[in-house]
Symmetry: C2
Subunit: 214 residues, 2 copies
C-alpha cells in the first residue's frame, strides 16, 4: 500500500496512525505542500482535488479524504477495532472525530491561507491569529466534550484507542507543529499523553517522517 | 426522534434527507442561527459546541455532527442502504461526501463569518466573495470527480441515492439559499435534478421547513 502524503499534513498523519494501529505496512510518497507539488500535473492525475492523502492499492484507483480512509481501513482490517460496537458509542466517536476533521482542520489548510493572503491581505501575524483561533476552538470544544463525560476513559471512548484519539492527537500535534499551545485543556492533554506512549501514534508523528525538514 | 435544527442549516438538511430516505419519523425543533439561539444556555446544555444539528432519542444523550449522524442512521436503519456494500465503493461515497462536509461547508458557517467580520473587517461583499469562492470550489471539485468516473450513474454512485447525493444536494441547494449559482457543472446539475424528483430530498429542502421565513 502506498500513501501520497506530507510530513506536516494532518490528514496524512491520521491515516498513518490508523495503519500503524492495524499493523498494515505502507510506503509514503512525499508531496511537498510548501512547494505546491499537490498541484503538479502528476499529482492532479492521482487526486484532481490536489489534496492529501491519497491511498493506492495495487492498480486500483486512488482513495482520498482521510475521513473516508479511516472508515475504509477500519472495514478492510477489522482488528484491532478503531470504533466501538455499540451504535451510539460509534456515533460519539465519529462526532468527536468530526470536531477535528470537519470543524477545525479545513480552516487552516494551505488553500485557505492562500485565499486570505491574496484576497484579504492577511500578513503572517493575521494568519497566525487565525490558525491559533481555530486550533484553540477545536481543542477547547473537544475538552468540553471529553472532560465530564463518563464515556471518556484513558482514551476518548473507554480504554482503547480509536478514531477519535487519532483525530485528537493529529490535531493537537498539528497545532504543535506551528508552535501553538492551547492552555486549560487537561482532559485533552491527558489523552494525548496516553496516545504518545503508543508506538503507532509516536511513529506517525510529523517529526519522525523521512521528509521532515528538521 | 427529535432533531434540533434550522431551516437553512446545511448539516440539518443532510440529516433530514437521510431520515426521509429511511422513512424514519422525526420532529424538528428550530434553533434560530440568525438570532444566535445556538448559544443560549438551554441549547448549550444540549450541545456545548453550539452547533446544529443535535439528534435526540428518548432520554439518551444527544448525538451531534452530521457526518456521525448519517453513519448512525445508516447503521440503525439499514434499509434502504445509503452506502454500497463494496468497501472501495463505500470509500468513494464517503470521500465525495467529505468534499461537502469537510472541505466546503465548515468554511461558510456563522462562526467563520463572525471571525472574518470582527477580526478581518469583512463587509457583506467580501463575505459573499468568500462564500462564492468556497461553494464554487466544492461544487467544481465534485464535478471533476463525478463527470468522467464510470462509477457515477444516475446518482453519485450508481443508480440509487446515498450519502454522497445527500451531501451534494444539500451543498448545491445550500448555495442556492444564498442565491449562489455555479456554472459549468453539468454532472452535478444532472444528479441534483434526479435528487430533486425524490420526495425524501424535496421535502427536506430549506424552503419547505416550518421555520423558513419565506
Amino acid at each position: 500500500m502506498d500513501i501520497y502524503g506530507f510530513w506536516r499534513s494532518q490528514a496524512t498523519f491520521r491515516v498513518r496512525i490508523a495503519l500503524n494501529l492495524k499493523r498494515v505496512a505502507y510506503r509514503e510518497i512525499p508531496i511537498d505542500l510548501d512547494k505546491g507539488e499537490q498541484y503538479s500535473p502528476e499529482f492532479l492525475a492521482i487526486n484532481p482535488q490536489g489534496a492529501l492523502p491519497a491511498l493506492i492499492e495495487d492498480a486500483a484507483s486512488p482513495l482520498t479524504q482521510s475521513s473516508a480512509l479511516l472508515e475504509y481501513i477500519e472495514e478492510r482490517y477489522p482488528t484491532p477495532p478503531l470504533l466501538p460496537k455499540n451504535l451510539r458509542e460509534r456515533a460519539r466517536v465519529r462526532s468527536l472525530a468530526a470536531v477535528a476533521i470537519s470543524d477545525t482542520h479545513p480552516l487552516i489548510t494551505p488553500r485557505v491561507k492562500g485565499y486570505l493572503s491574496k484576497t484579504a491581505g492577511f500578513d503572517a501575524d493575521q494568519w497566525r491569529a487565525w490558525q491559533t483561533n481555530w486550533f484553540s476552538a477545536g481543542l477547547k470544544t473537544l475538552e468540553a466534550r471529553l472532560a465530564h463525560d463518563p464515556a471518556t476513559g484513558t482514551f476518548c471512548q473507554g480504554d482503547t484507542p480509536g478514531i477519535a484519539d487519532i483525530c485528537l492527537y493529529a490535531l493537537y500535534e498539528g497545532a504543535g507543529t506551528f508552535k501553538i499551545k492551547v492552555d486549560a485543556i487537561p482532559a485533552v492533554d491527558r489523552i494525548v499523553a496516553h496516545c504518545a506512549k503508543l508506538p503507532a501514534f509516536a511513529d506517525a508523528h510529523p517529526t519522525r517522517q523521512a521528509d521532515y525538514p528538521g
